[in-house]
């Protein structure tokens, strides 16, 4: 249980980022976090620097690290890479998925349906995350997996923040089902296509939310 202190703090920060607990543009100060966690500044510094190296945070020398604000451009840039890599991961995973993993995917889909019905945003996002994570995890390529996780970390801070229950729509789960059927038949190409459609649909959704957010920022 007792790992490295800096590793623990890294995990906490990472989860916080993925959960959207930090506002884009917000500056994370070493001493503040150290005081909050009750540690010395040292492991906090290490954890922050690691996140900067991974692209999850941005920091100029001699200046406070901050959560990178999301722009249309950056979102599109990340999206383009995600599309290529996650598509590739699905296609590679298709012939390698075990029965257990398929079962997990099925359960995730069930729970997403329920979450949508109950308008439980947090639950939906969690299961959506797990669905994709399990799927990509079976691709057999750790380098690819790691790169994908990095990209998720870069979009996480903003989309968990913007996505509200008003945006929950049954359509969101359709592509998961398409992908699942294709995977059952071992059709990698079709699964890839379905996931790419999922990303595309979800991505367009988020892009709209981002525009709305900009508009609101201009007013308020």
């Amino acid at each position: 249980m007792a790992e490295n202190l800096q590793e623990q703090l890294y995990q906490r920060l990472r989860e916080g980022l993925l959960a959207g607990q930090f506002k884009p543009g917000e500056r994370l100060k070493i001493r503040d976090l150290a005081a909050a966690w009750g540690t010395s500044p040292m492991p906090v510094r290490a954890a922050l620097q690691r996140l900067v190296a991974e692209g999850a945070l941005e920091g100029e020398p001699q200046r406070s690290v901050r959560v990178p604000p999301m722009t249309r451009e950056r979102f599109k840039q990340i999206f383009q890479v995600r599309m290529a890599l996650e598509g590739m991961a699905v296609e590679a995973a298709a012939p390698r998925l075990t029965a257990d993993e398929l079962e997990i995917l099925r359960v995730c889909m069930e729970r997403m349906d329920i979450a949508i019905e109950q308008r439980d945003v947090q639950g939906y996002l969690n299961d959506n995350s797990q669905f994709h994570r399990v799927l990509y995890g079976a691709c057999g390529n750790p380098v690819l997996l790691r790169t994908i996780e990095n990209l998720w970390l870069q979009v996480g801070p903003f989309f968990n923040r913007l996505f509200t229950e008003a945006d929950l729509s049954l359509r969101l789960n359709d592509f998961h089902e398409d992908a699942f059927k294709a995977l059952l038949e071992g059709d990698g190409k079709a699964a890839r296509f379905a996931i790419e459609q999922d990303l595309s649909y979800f991505g367009q959704f988020l892009l709209n939310l981002l525009e709305l957010d900009f508009a609101q920022a201009r007013i308020g």
Copy 2:
């Protein structure tokens, strides 16, 4: 000139890695490097941790950081991702290349021809690196660019080490010329295809060298 100390050390280590100055499996010890550079262990630690976060070095908790040994599997994994991302970068760069950048590419090709003729391995690798770097740099997607650079950093330590003058072949520059012609005509698809062939050819070459290296290790 005087940036962050840890940034400077990071750059030095990075260059050293790309130049193949460190053997795969070699362990980099904080105090040793600090003594060698004449600094305190602190900025060295930060630089090493950054490289670990980028995947260029590997380190388990409470253990020395080391240069990851290259295996067939890992090489294929990295290669698969490189193929997708570098191909995408070329296609995106094709309509954006300026006349200046095209000129740089042309000069790189010229110099590679000369380097091959003179059996200047180091010169060839430098220009090859610059050729690809300039090409990808024009893709207009910083996220993509950063990811590609990370992957280069992961293969760098081993291929600059294994590639010797015996392996210099004129064929190596053919695909660059194909790509260049396609770029002049603004044909992104063709340029992508040429670069993918280049990667494929070069990658197969390196894979063979890797096998030879394994065989030698088994004997010697």
